[in-house]
């Protein structure tokens, strides 16, 4: 069955018949495996690797299905279908993640084949969302819209998707592998904390090439990536990526899960790693991997600009509430008369990244009406409507407000990243969602949030760091201390061009005092900042001392 009534202008990659046939075969295969498991013909040890290859985890209260959203791009038909799946087979909501995917937390094993069928109807799946393979490549949520974009990263993210999907050599890597790519000089994808980070750029002749980083990562051992190459020509892109993966595949430490990521290899080998990649690259049959300009152009056609109207930039309506939302949520667009809109999934007191089925449908409708049917998922767990006419912004805002999606807090202190933590995750050592909720309630007053300015708080429920706490201005890590949840604070992290790992500020705080501690940090910053300084700037200028003193000095 094929229920594809795609919005005609949405620039998401469209499957061909071969892709669709493959998905059907894969679902049939997994359906058989699920049936055998339910009948007891497969043990959990036998079944686990099979289910993980199809994105199915077992969490604290239920199975969890993680669905790939290739480089965070959705069209309205796909988002509507996710809403339908949430309503029919989950509890009416889903959780958007920092890797631009979506997770359903209340999945039943017996329903999974039907859920996968429903996904396939809109060219989606859950393959390679788990396991030691190349995971979903992430990219800039403003791709194709941002004025500072030099190269459209979606084209190369799609090339990477096609190259890495079911790549036989890289299905059993030493450990999972995550790639992020940006096409703008301002890094919005946290490139330097990924296994491979790619910056697409142009040379003086206007040709496309790539700056390649490797060995970044968070988790137990946070490391900023090493630059391997300043320039890989477009035609050699896949050859070079293949070379990086080969060296890692051959030398990554398979016998120690804590040392198996590429970051450890790159850290230990240093410049030697770069040389090994170069040697591999030199001796590869590079013609086999050459990216023909025609192929790039054919894929690029999927991402051609939608039919923009010839418009002029416009002043915004005067309404005070609308203006407050616009100030936080609207971003300049490269096309005159248009804007990109970030939709906050961080209502005050809400669960960061959660959206209800109704909200997914509402956003799908609004995207159809106002953004050529296109939606993006951000790595900060929000959504984006990339191409909105400025003259439609007021109407859009009213529609978002009706759906409870107009919280004007993008980039502010309540725009928090939080992993599921112990409320859902089997690996957690502490809860993270309630901490995010309490912080956003404490700072609910919008005028106050604006007065504080840009400030990123990220929260993880264990050392795996799914909530990116290391690269937050204020990072919070929940740990277990003799059966009690306590929270460590790191300060001064950054995920962008000036990437840095936050420093642990001192002893941990209890569940009941962590929000007060954040309040103390903010008060200290406000007392010390000079005009125009953000939290991170003040911290970098003054160092940890005043913050430490405020937190730990005897009262």
């Amino acid at each position: 069955m094929n229920a594809l009534t795609y919005p005609p202008h949405a620039r998401t990659y469209r499957y061909d018949e071969i892709d669709r046939e493959f998905l059907q075969e894969r679902i049939a295969e997994f359906r058989g495996q699920v049936e055998r498991r339910l009948k007891g013909e497969l043990t959990e040890d036998e079944f686990k690797p099979l289910r993980l290859m199809n994105g199915l985890y077992l969490q604290l209260h239920a199975y969890m299905l993680r669905i790939a959203i290739p480089y965070g791009l959705l069209n309205s038909a796909q988002l509507r279908q996710l809403g339908r799946i949430a309503r029919r087979w989950d509890r009416g909501f889903g959780h958007f993640t920092t890797r631009q995917n979506i997770q359903f937390n209340w999945t039943r094993l017996e329903d999974v084949p039907a859920m996968l069928e429903a996904l396939a109807e809109v060219d989606m799946h859950a393959i390679q969302t788990s396991g030691n393979c190349i995971r979903n490549t992430t990219t800039d949520e403003y791709a194709g819209a941002s004025p500072d974009e030099v190269v459209d990263p979606r084209v190369y993210a799609e090339i990477l998707r096609q190259w890495s999907t079911l790549h036989p050599e890289f299905t059993w890597l030493p450990r999972k592998f995550k790639i992020a790519i940006t096409g703008s000089p301002h890094d919005r994808v946290a490139a330097q904390v990924h296994d491979v980070g790619v910056l697409a750029k142009r040379n003086a002749r206007g040709e496309v090439g790539f700056e390649v980083y490797a060995g970044g990562g968070l988790g137990r051992t946070p490391i900023i990536a090493r630059k391997l190459r300043d320039w890989v020509p477009e035609a050699e892109f896949l050859a070079y990526m293949e070379a990086v993966l080969r060296v890692y595949n051959a030398l990554g430490q398979r016998d120690n899960i804590y040392k198996a990521r590429i970051k450890i290899l790159v850290r230990d080998l240093g410049a030697e790693f770069t040389q090994m990649v170069e040697r591999e690259y030199e001796r590869m049959p590079r013609d086999k991997y050459r990216l023909d300009p025609e192929i790039v152009a054919a894929i690029g056609a999927h991402f051609a600009p939608p039919p923009f109207a010839a418009l002029q930039d416009q002043p915004l309506p005067e309404d005070r509430e609308f203006r407050a939302w616009a100030a936080a949520s609207i971003r300049a667009h490269k096309q005159p008369g248009y804007a990109s809109v970030t939709i906050s999934l961080k209502p005050i007191g809400g669960i960061p990244g959660d959206a209800s089925a109704d909200q997914m449908e509402a956003v799908a409708d609004l995207a159809e009406r106002h953004s050529f049917g296109e939606i993006r998922v951000t790595h900060v767990q929000n959504l984006v409507l990339p191409h909105v006419r400025q003259e439609d912004l007021f109407t859009l805002w009213q529609g978002l407000r009706a759906a409870g999606l107009a919280t004007p807090n993008i980039g502010l202190i309540s725009d928090i990243i939080a992993c599921p933590g112990m409320d859902y995750c089997a690996l957690a050592t502490a809860r993270s969602i309630p901490i995010a909720q309490q912080i956003s309630e404490r700072f609910a007053d919008l005028d106050r949030q604006h007065a504080i300015g840009e400030c990123f708080i990220n929260i993880s429920g264990c050392i795996n760091a799914c909530g990116h706490h290391h690269v937050a201005h204020i990072g919070i890590l929940g740990v277990d201390k003799r059966g009690e949840e306590v929270y460590q604070i790191t300060l001064g992290g950054s995920a962008t061009n000036d990437a840095s790992i936050g420093e642990l500020i001192g002893p941990a705080f209890s569940y009941d005092t962590i929000v007060d501690a954040v309040e103390t940090l903010i008060a200290t910053y406000v007392a010390h900042r000079t005009a125009g300084e953000r939290f991170i700037d003040t911290y970098r200028r003054l160092g940890a001392a005043p913050f430490k003193e405020a937190l730990y000095a005897p009262a």
């Binding site: 339910l38 007891g40 077992l58 017996e110 809400g350 112990m422 409320d423």
Partner: protein, 99 residues
């Protein structure tokens, strides 16, 4: 099979928990020998009987009805001593339905 089954010897009464194979929901096992949806419906094993209890509980795992059996020390109620398992009893501490 289940990784946490061979924990240190119990010093408090124990029940067993696992996820039901079919839907993944949390289930509980006590001296009655039946997997239950609610922990309140099971009677804990005395610490000395924990090993025998485990063997019985794991039978359901071998019969592919439940996944990931492990022992949980409990106080009166029975209420798990550790916070993580109290969350398994109560469900998430945050809203777990669409708003």
């Amino acid at each position: 099979m289940s990784t946490k089954a061979k924990a240190r010897p119990a010093t408090a009464p124990v029940v067993f928990t696992a996820n039901r194979l079919r839907d993944g929901r949390v289930v509980w096992f006590g001296a009655e020998g039946i997997w239950q949806d609610r922990i309140a419906a099971v009677t804990p094993f005395a610490p000395e009987a924990a090993e025998t209890g485990l063997a019985e509980a794991q039978q359901a795992e071998r019969q592919q009805q439940v996944v990931g059996v492990y022992a949980v020390e409990v106080g009166p109620g029975p209420t798990p001593l550790k916070f993580r398992e109290r969350l398994r009893v109560s469900g998430p501490s945050v809203a777990a339905e669409a708003a």
